[in-house]
């Protein structure tokens, strides 16, 4: 910091005195103190931020050729793929970018769950994160409607119909959302507008997310507080470089799908133009919604299913208060650590159940809906019963004194 200031030239000084943009950058990006023991799991936040930028950039350019009109939406997407210069690339980047965004954010969230990054004093940071997640889901849902294929149309119909479960005013709300009596031109038109607008709002939430993060700084794998200058390193160049390495690896994965398996995450039925008179035999949402779709279907009652499904997301808001343990990192929590991995498996199982038809039987024996019910019950059991109880009953391992001490110990162990 001191060094930087002496090096600054006159112009920088002149600007910074009037608008402290250079001090701000230095404070938040360059000399920003970061725990020096962060592992690779801390790459996913910055990666998600980069993918958001990729999505906004590719989305803006796609919107220059896309037409939100039911008569030509499908053809306009085909025109983008066939006639627009590099249109195919933009489209596949945007399509697969959405999947990648969710992959990164899910890893980011599970990182937070494992290392207790939602615990005091980072509750608001976590809750803003949940707001970002919900906004992402809304944005992705509306974006998926735009190509106006069969899955677009029927996905939109099924999801918007969720609101008809609300007693008394449900039907009116649905007609208001649709702008008519079925998913049609007004619906497509407004979804396009929202799909364009929401990422900007998402971006603002990300700024607030980082703001909250920078107040108490990053958590770390040990889950203990930063105690001295020895525990931290300046963000630049140490973590900018590490994040760039992560970006390189991520881009290889991302572009592998874009160039070699661009339709891997998609549903072939979405290459059939929307037909309001024919429902495809098996409607599935995009993969990143599957666990919640499984929860919805696990409940035999319509309104009940909708309530339980939304609770599945909203329960994350109160997570910081459901976990009663004072110890942040699962590294020092022998029981919670195992429960965490069971929970991860439970979420994956829900995703698998969500991808199967309603009458699917696992191994031809166990009814999918029963598996879905068991997994749904466990999902809530984990949050509502296990987390509060384990925090009270479990005896955590002793916590290390400082981040620095542990880092030095690990280095010595490596040398020996």
């Amino acid at each position: 910091m001191q060094e930087n200031q002496t090096k600054r030239n006159k112009l920088v000084e002149w600007i910074d005195y009037r608008l402290p943009i250079f001090s701000y950058t230095d404070h938040n990006v360059i000399s920003y103190p970061t725990p020096k023991n962060l592992n690779w799991m801390w790459n996913f936040g910055s990666l998600a931020g980069i993918v958001l930028v990729i999505m906004i950039a590719s989305g803006v350019f796609l919107a220059m050729n896309y037409q939100p009109n039911t008569a030509i939406a499908f053809q306009s997407v085909e025109r983008i793929v066939r006639d627009v210069n590099y249109g195919w690339l933009l489209r596949y980047i945007h399509m697969n970018g959405a999947s990648m965004f969710f992959v990164l954010v899910y890893i980011h969230m599970f990182r937070g769950l494992y290392y207790g990054s939602y615990k005091a004093p980072r509750e608001l940071l976590w809750m803003i994160g949940v707001v970002i997640y919900v906004t992402m889901m809304a944005t992705a849902f509306m974006g998926y409607v735009l190509p106006w294929g069969q899955m677009s149309f029927w996905g939109a119909t099924v999801i918007t119909n969720l609101f008809s479960a609300i007693p008394v005013i449900g039907t009116h709300i649905v007609n208001w959302i649709w702008g008519g009596f079925s998913v049609d031109l007004p619906t497509l038109n407004r979804f396009f507008v929202w799909h364009y607008l929401l990422p900007m709002i998402l971006f603002m939430f990300v700024v607030v997310h980082l703001w909250a993060l920078h107040v108490h700084k990053s958590n770390n794998p040990l889950g203990i507080d930063i105690k001295s200058k020895d525990d931290v390193m300046p963000f630049h160049p140490y973590y900018t470089i590490k994040d760039l390495v992560g970006l390189g690896v991520f881009m290889m994965v991302f572009l592998f799908f874009v160039f070699f398996y661009p339709n891997f995450f998609g549903e072939p039925d979405n290459y059939i133009p929307a037909n309001p008179m024919v429902t495809p035999p098996h409607i599935v949402p995009e993969w990143y919604f599957l666990p919640f779709y499984a929860i919805l279907r696990a409940v035999p009652d319509k309104l009940g299913g909708v309530i339980v499904m939304f609770s599945g997301v909203l329960i994350l808001f109160v997570l910081p208060w459901l976990d009663t343990s004072k110890v942040r990192s699962a590294t020092f929590r022998p029981i919670y650590k195992q429960l965490f991995w069971i929970f991860v498996l439970d979420c994956i199982l829900l995703g698998i159940v969500g991808s199967k038809p309603p009458d699917y039987a696992f191994f031809g024996l166990i009814k999918g809906v029963l598996v879905g019910r068991a997994a749904t019950i466990y999902y809530f059991f984990h949050f509502l019963v296990l987390m509060p109880l384990v925090g009270k009953l479990e005896k955590p391992k002793p916590l290390p004194n400082s981040i620095n001490e542990e880092v030095i110990k690990a280095c010595r162990a490596k040398e020996d």
Binding site: V158, G179, D184, T279, R297, P300, K302
Partner: protein, 185 residues
């Protein structure tokens, strides 16, 4: 708090602060009311527009239909199922005791003429279109319609008999213009 002369000027002489408080509250309420009122046109603008409301009725001629045949017509962007029921289908629909139904409703309350059942062809669960209009379609265990999305089954009166759907298939408003012509909407 003691009433200094300054307080008297600030809050009014008789009752301290009440007149100023009243002004503050009434201005705030008026301001809020203005905000709410100005939000309404924005909210209402995305409701169904006049041209969409205008497309409200469809005329259908049932004269050419054969016994047992089903047709689908479009009304307000939704499919309307019309089936010329056979005597057996009518009997099945009439003979079911109401106590066996998820959403109890007598068949005679669901049709205007016993042979023609007219329903909105949208599953009351989450809005898929049930199968059963084509002769080759599965019609479920109750001989009516079968929704492929989550497995709801409907009988020959369009009443839900099994599955997650909470309600019978909805009935569109329609009336007979003459013996074989109906106007939906």
């Amino acid at each position: 708090m003691t009433d200094t002369p300054a307080d008297k000027i600030l809050h009014g002489a008789d009752s301290p602060s009440s007149r100023r408080d009243f002004l503050l509250i009434s201005t705030s309420v008026l301001g809020l009311a203005g905000l709410v009122a100005s939000a309404w046109p924005f909210i209402d603008s995305i409701g169904p527009a006049a041209d969409i409301l205008a497309l409200s009725s469809t005329d259908v001629d049932l004269g050419a239909m054969q016994v047992g045949q089903a047709i689908t017509v479009k009304w307000r962007g939704k499919p309307i199922f019309i089936r010329y029921r056979t005597a057996k289908e009518i009997k099945e629909a009439r003979d079911v005791p109401l106590s066996q139904l998820i959403d109890p409703q007598a068949d005679k309350d669901r049709v205007q003429k016993a042979q023609w059942i007219v329903v909105i062809g949208i599953c009351t669960h989450l809005g898929c279109i049930p199968l059963g209009q084509k002769p080759t379609d599965p019609r479920g265990d109750y001989g009516g319609w079968y929704c492929p999305c989550h497995g709801s089954e409907y009988d020959t009166s369009g009443r839900v008999r099994r599955g997650p759907a909470p309600k019978n298939l909805y009935l569109p408003p329609y009336k007979f213009l003459d013996n074989t012509k109906i106007r939906i909407g």
